[in-house]
Amino acid sequence: MPNWPSERQLMGTKVPRVDGFKKVSGGAKYSYDINLPGLLYAMILRSPYAHCKIVSIDLGPAESMPGVKAVHLIKKPGDELHYAGDEIAAVAAMTEEVAEDALRAIKVKYQVLPHVSSEDQALKAGAPAARAGSADERGEKIEDAIKEAAAVHEGTYGCEVITHVCLETHGLVARWEGEELTAWASTQAVHGTGTALAQHFKIPKATCITNFMGGGFGSKFGPDIQGIVAAELAKKAGAPVKLLLNRAEEHNAAGNRPSAFAKVKAAVDKTGKLIAFDAETWGTGGHSRGAGFPLPYVYPVDNRRRKHTDCFINAGDNRAMRAPGHPQGSLVMDSLMDDLCHKFDPKLDPVEFRLRNLPSTVLRDIYTKELLLGAARIGWKENWHPRGDNAPGPWKRGLGVALGTWGGGPGDAQATCTLHGDGRVEVKCGTQDLGTGTTTVVPLVAAEILGLQIGDIAGSIGSSAFPPAGGSGGSTSCGGVSVAVAMACTKALAELFAKVAPKLECKPEDLQAEYGRVFVTGNLERGFTWKQACAVLGQQPITASADKKEGEKGMATSTVGGAQFADVSVDVETGRVRLNKIVAVADCGLVVNRLTCESQVLGGVIMGINYGLYEQRRLDPPTGLPVNPDMEFYLLAGAGDIPEIDVVLLDYPERGVIGIGEPPTIPTAAAISNAVANAIGVRVPVIPLTPRRVLEALEGKA
């Protein structure tokens, strides 16, 4: 069975990004930076109301405006617009300014309809906007278990809607050459986007290119309306078109993470083990999408019941966001676990309480290690105290812990490896780099297998012209791409060995490639340099293709667990939460690039700090209009808001490669919330933990 080399030269070391030079010098070309001759700029007219119907629409004034090259209708009279920002029509013009003027010139008459802009409004009797979602009931003894329990706790917890805020907005540049369409898209899926465009226009193939992209976090998997519209406009105008959303559109129309609220009653037996769980949950994922999230989460419970309701409101629809549903599940479950622990025995250490309630899966051992390791790094033994810091003065300090889990595993990926007679190595894979470091993973893995240095490999990704790979979601790219590249290189190397063996008077299986040489195992001298070895190929290069399926068992894995700890201080006079330190223990399996792996964990933690303390999409209830679709009133942490973050990569090479994009962002906010409860003695039930919410909790109003 194929597996990773047992002694690795490069994998697991710290490798600077191969595309880093371009990124630090301003030379990296993102979709937004593609300027083609004759390029037109496109913009979309959007609904100014939370809920309305188009009565009539007159595109004439825009069409006749000088500089306007194409106009495209997205909705027609009679169509309903479901949120402020819903698409109506689009224009392409010679400058952004003319495009903006043209949008203003389009005459639309609207019939304003009643709107719903919050979960509470949607849940009110009579509102048509709430729909029973999934119901789940297992075990028959919930009531009995609660009656016999050593402790029962009932609480309500929640998280608000947040948005992805990709720094590069959604969109693409579209160019037609005859019937051939090329799109430079900001996307997490070059193959998926190319295929979707080809299907829409009923053409055999559309090429999607993404050399650099400015973040996606789950929200960029296809051309979307704006991508289709850009290509339609380009076709009509006979010129390339650039359409990238502005910041407000990005907040309103390009996806969000659903809210999640839960009213839970749960019980433990006299050993402190969870025995019953009864929850009503609800949330909103926009006007047509649900708001599901996993619950119970991490900690198993036999007797459980859950009733979930999706609230439909006049807002943009949700999209997958970095570990969809899991941060919400973690916040609810780990807050509940802490409150239960406190109810059961205020002096019981919450780490010990969690150890008693771990699942009996492969993760039990991993969580145990992580909890003990993380507790030591945060100073748990020295600094943990039962709920409520009795120190004098307004600043109260507390510690908190939370766990997360994620599936992951190797995603679909194919790769080719070409060895040339002059020693050049080309590796191609139709994956993409969202900023995660995939561009560096490809040559790193190839160099490892071929016994070369990273600079010896020309790796190419970011085009649908390369071998198919899945979208970068679910933390599956690193595993799938690493395995596909390794297998393609292994096959190419075997072919090279077959040609080199006769020259060395040995069998191909006696050869190995390492230290930039191809030699007979055990005798470094009996061999060639890489270039000499490749010279046997002459003018006939070797190209080998592989699918990740050829090697995945043991080389990449799914089912991961992570633990995080927070040390906070809370000012009980102002309600301000100050972070002192976060410890993140990440289940990393076989680390591919230690440098970018750490970056992913840091990024996940900081995103968790963001939604734990700051982020909230706000709609104005009377009008249903978004209040903060910008970067001023939609709060995000800056460099000054970030504490010391101690990243611990739990190496476990025998588990194979694990994608690390999502797991580290799951438990951060729950750990912070638990630390705040530990500091001030009461639970602040809903995140973000704003000063107002902290003060309300202290006053007993929450």
């Binding site: 010098s25 952004e96 970056s599």
Partner: protein, 160 residues
């Protein structure tokens, strides 16, 4: 109406025509091909479009292109010296202080403006100075370390 503007960008003379309402960022990106400066928010909150204008750090999305007349601008494309990368750029690479990289030009330009006026900043000064730059991926930890390390290495060069 188009305005005729003469300005100096990264030490080179530039001339362009622009509308009065066009921002410096638009002209840099769309007319002059200097796409290293990025548009993140277009209202001065994210810092991705940071450039140095007559020695002062500005958000180029909030500066009219016409205001550039007769002034000297440094963009990310001009940070690198003839002898190679600036220590800030080297430290950003070495410390992996970049992920998707779209905020990186703004951070480097902002950090350059800081080191120009304060070659030996404290960690708190770095964090405060960079408060106008947002990173979503998010690499603040490594960015702050890279800036501090770059300050140290430029100090060593100056001592030599």
């Amino acid at each position: 109406m188009k305005l005729h503007v003469k300005t100096t960008i990264n030490g080179e003379e530039f001339e362009f025509l622009c509308e009065p309402r066009e921002s410096l960022l638009e002209v840099l990106r769309d007319r002059l091909g200097l796409t290293g400066s990025k548009e993140g928010c277009n209202n001065g909150n994210c810092g991705a479009c940071n450039v140095i204008l007559d020695g002062r750090l500005v958000n180029s999305c909030l500066v009219f292109a016409a205001e550039a007349a007769g002034r000297a601008i440094t963009t990310i494309e001009g940070i690198q010296g003839p002898e190679g990368l600036h220590p800030l750029q080297e430290k950003f690479l070495e410390h992996a202080a970049l992920q998707c990289g779209i905020c990186t030009p703004g951070f480097i330009v902002a950090a350059k403006a800081l080191l120009d006026r304060n070659p030996d900043p404290s960690e708190a000064e770095v964090r405060l100075w960079l408060a106008g730059n947002l990173c979503r991926c998010t690499g603040y930890d490594k960015i702050v370390r890279a800036v501090l390390e770059a300050a140290k290495s430029t100090a060593v060069v100056m001592e030599k």
